[in-house]
């Protein structure tokens, strides 16, 4: 009797999988990982763990774009936010010899770049693409002028193994032996997803991004909302910068962010302006990078270094070429909002 139920459950699961594309993809991924794990467990774990490591900053940076565009502000300046916050995060941490101060400085400076973007686009109604470019160029100018060699961090944020969970084969190494910002960032992505689709704030935010004058009519202060969201997004970008310098790399250099802010925009589009979608898209990007690295390390293929470095950029263009046109962003993104005169 029990066995019959189990068989029924499996059949049920398979038919559901075939009916819904998402779960079908899920099973394909699970089976592929299981197969790879049975063939070469060491490399599989390494690739999976690196997929998260490489993908997480892209996912977090994509959240900045999502929060801004959902309120109708195109944010080309994510790159500048990452650069500025990594700069302040690194130097405050190095000068105070305290990682927490660095983390706070990174978040605060990220929020300031968000404030600048909000000022330019919301209050001054500047062309949003040019406003974002200004954020980027100012960030590059500031960080390269004030950059000094010869500073180092006291340490980087240590990995926290979560008791019990970190011992699970595969999953434990991939998900539960990470640094604090990784956990925090992953949680925030899920929080943002819930907030975007299941709270009044999310509904209002999305309304502003689609049809601001209608949102204003229903009593939402469009300007205030845009300011709040763009500044919070900047703070989130600051956290991303902190992750890059204080948890992942442990150093800072001129041009440190290396285009991640722009790749994040592609991930945002690929993930259809949805936090979970963007997280999965970012892990896919991370996976491509991790796989190429692992193939090199295992000596299976000899790809020249420049082609490995090129991979995320090529992938960005290819992904956009296939997904653009099929997906549609918030309708009012990119347009300055002018309150109608009575």
């Amino acid at each position: 009797m029990l066995r019959l139920q189990a068989v029924g459950a499996v059949i049920n699961m398979m038919t559901t999988a075939l009916r819904s594309r998402k779960s079908l993809y899920f099973y394909i991924v699970v089976i592929a990982i299981a197969f790879a794990y049975s063939v070469n467990s060491v490399s599989t774990v390494a690739v999976a763990a690196s997929s998260i490591t490489f993908g997480l900053p892209l996912a977090m940076a994509a959240m900045v774009g999502i929060m801004c565009e959902r309120t109708g502000v195109v944010n080309i300046g994510i790159e500048g936010t990452l650069l500025t916050s990594a700069f302040f995060g690194f130097f405050v941490a190095a000068l105070s010899q305290n990682l927490i101060w660095g983390l706070l400085a990174a978040i605060a400076s990220g929020a300031v770049t968000g404030l600048l973007l909000a000022l330019l686009t919301v209050s001054w109604k500047m062309d949003q693409i040019i406003a974002g470019t200004i954020v980027n160029i100012l960030a590059t100018g500031l960080t390269s002028f004030f950059y000094k060699q010869g500073y180092s961090l006291p340490a980087i944020f240590p990995r926290w193994s979560i008791p019990g969970l970190s011992d699970i084969p595969f999953l434990g190494r991939v998900f539960f032996q990470s640094g604090p910002i990784t956990y925090f960032g992953l949680i925030l992505i899920f929080v943002l997803y819930v907030a975007m689709y299941h709270t009044a704030w999310g509904l209002r935010t999305r309304a502003i991004g689609e049809y601001p004058s209608s949102a204003e009519t229903s009593g939402i202060s469009v300007k205030k909302f845009k300011y709040i969201n763009v500044v919070i997004a900047g703070a989130f970008g600051g956290l991303t910068g902190a992750y890059l310098t204080l948890e992942l790399v442990g150093s800072f250099d001129r041009g440190f962010s290396a285009g991640k802010g722009f790749t994040a925009l592609a991930i945002m589009i690929f993930g259809r302006w949805n936090p979970i979608g963007a997280l999965l898209a970012a892990i896919f990007f991370g996976f491509a990078q991790a796989l190429a690295n692992q193939l090199m390390i295992d000596g299976l293929v000899a790809i020249p270094g420049p082609f490995i470095n090129m991979l995320p950029y090529v992938l960005t263009i290819v992904v956009l070429a296939f997904s653009a046109g099929k997906v549609r962003g918030p309708a009012a993104a990119g347009q300055p909002y002018e309150r109608e005169q009575a």
Binding site: E69, I130, A131, F262, P306, L320, A324
Partner: protein, 349 residues
């Protein structure tokens, strides 16, 4: 009066930026007067300095023009950098691999090859914009990185000079080099001609008119029977060809080979120059001379006044900020220049 208004905002922006730069120098313990004096006398009063200034100004002017064409056609071309590198490398290859041609044939050939390879990079971005609706800002930035990596691969692999330790191509043949006339680099004269040419295209030709109509209002352009998509691609191809030509001029006139470490940042200064010139091709030239002087004399300023040359990056960033953000017209109560949308959103194509 119109002319005064067009010049006054950039001038005030420059004054403010140099002022902020001076304050920063003081905070770092340097003497700003000495630094600026050294910067400007080196760049604009000695024979040698002037030659360097005009040499540096040449690729800046041409990449600035490449950005101007895009802005006029409603495209924000951040990719002048990649297009320029593509052209510079292709011209270097044509300069050393082809031998035995007379100068009169070799130089134009190298320049044309540079323009073609630059336009190829522009074409990719233009086609993706027109037919797939991908915003040109993302594609051009990605292409910048891709082209740079590809150029590093080529100059460190198939096109590497034999026996060289660093990544660079062999030097170009003498028949491919371009020199100077009366102290003025020929490349700079070419960039002046190009500026007039671009101005003429937008003033007098239907091609320019089509670009501008597409840039101002796609729907109106479509309604008037202009092939919007084809013109978008064509505009990006023209941007790429110009930037590639600029890279070729830099290779033939200054560098003499291709080395990835050179050519950095030229395309980005081009963006600042184009916005400073308010997308007016003729105003690109004085902007490029100013920027070229500052870039050329930056190292001297470091030597004489102890100011790190990165201050110039910062000053130029501040200039860009004040030129594009509508602050100056607010403070000085100038009649506000229209800060219309020059770029398009994600979805529209």
């Amino acid at each position: 009066m119109k002319l005064v208004r067009a010049w006054i905002t950039p001038l005030i922006a420059l004054v403010i930026a140099f002022g902020i730069g001076a304050i920063l120098m003081i905070t770092q313990g340097s003497d700003p007067l000495r630094a600026y004096e050294s910067l400007f006398t080196t760049a604009f009063s000695t024979q040698e300095g002037l030659a360097k200034t005009f040499g540096k100004a040449t690729p800046l002017a041409i990449s600035g023009l490449a950005v101007v064409i895009g802005l006029r056609a409603g495209l924000f071309n951040i990719g002048a950098q990649g297009q320029l590198i593509s052209g510079a490398l292709a011209a270097a290859w044509a300069g050393y691999a082809i031998t035995g041609l007379p100068m009169i044939a070799h130089v134009p050939l190298c320049l044309i090859i540079g323009a073609i390879f630059g336009s190829l990079v522009g074409y990719i971005a233009g086609a993706l914009k027109a037919y797939r609706g991908i915003h040109e800002v993302i594609t051009t930035i990605m292409l910048n990185s891709i082209v740079l990596q590809f150029a590093e691969y080529l100059s460190n692999g198939p096109l590497k000079e034999e026996g060289s330790i660093i990544a660079k191509t062999p030097p170009i043949a003498d028949s491919a080099k371009i020199g100077s006339i009366a102290g003025l680099p020929i490349g700079f004269l070419l960039s002046g001609l190009l500026a007039v040419g671009v101005w003429w295209i937008f003033k007098k030709t239907t091609t320019g008119f089509r670009f501008e109509t597409v840039g101002k209002n796609k729907n109106a352009a479509w309604y008037a029977g202009i092939a919007v998509k084809r013109n978008t691609v064509f505009a990006m191809v023209a941007c790429g060809a110009l930037a590639g030509f600029g890279g070729a001029v830099e290779t033939l006139g200054v560098v003499g080979k291709f080395e990835p470490a050179f050519n950095q940042g030229l395309g980005f200064d081009g963006i600042t120059i184009a916005l400073l010139a308010r997308a007016n091709p003729l105003a690109v030239i004085p902007g490029a001379i100013l920027f070229g002087g500052m870039r050329g004399a930056g190292p001297t300023m470091q030597f004489t006044a102890g100011v790190s040359p990165e201050i110039i990056d910062l000053i130029l960033a501040i200039v860009l900020f004040f030129v594009t953000a509508p602050i100056i017209s607010r403070i000085f109560r100038l009649k506000s220049d229209s800060n219309a949308q020059v770029t398009s959103g994600w979805g529209s194509n």
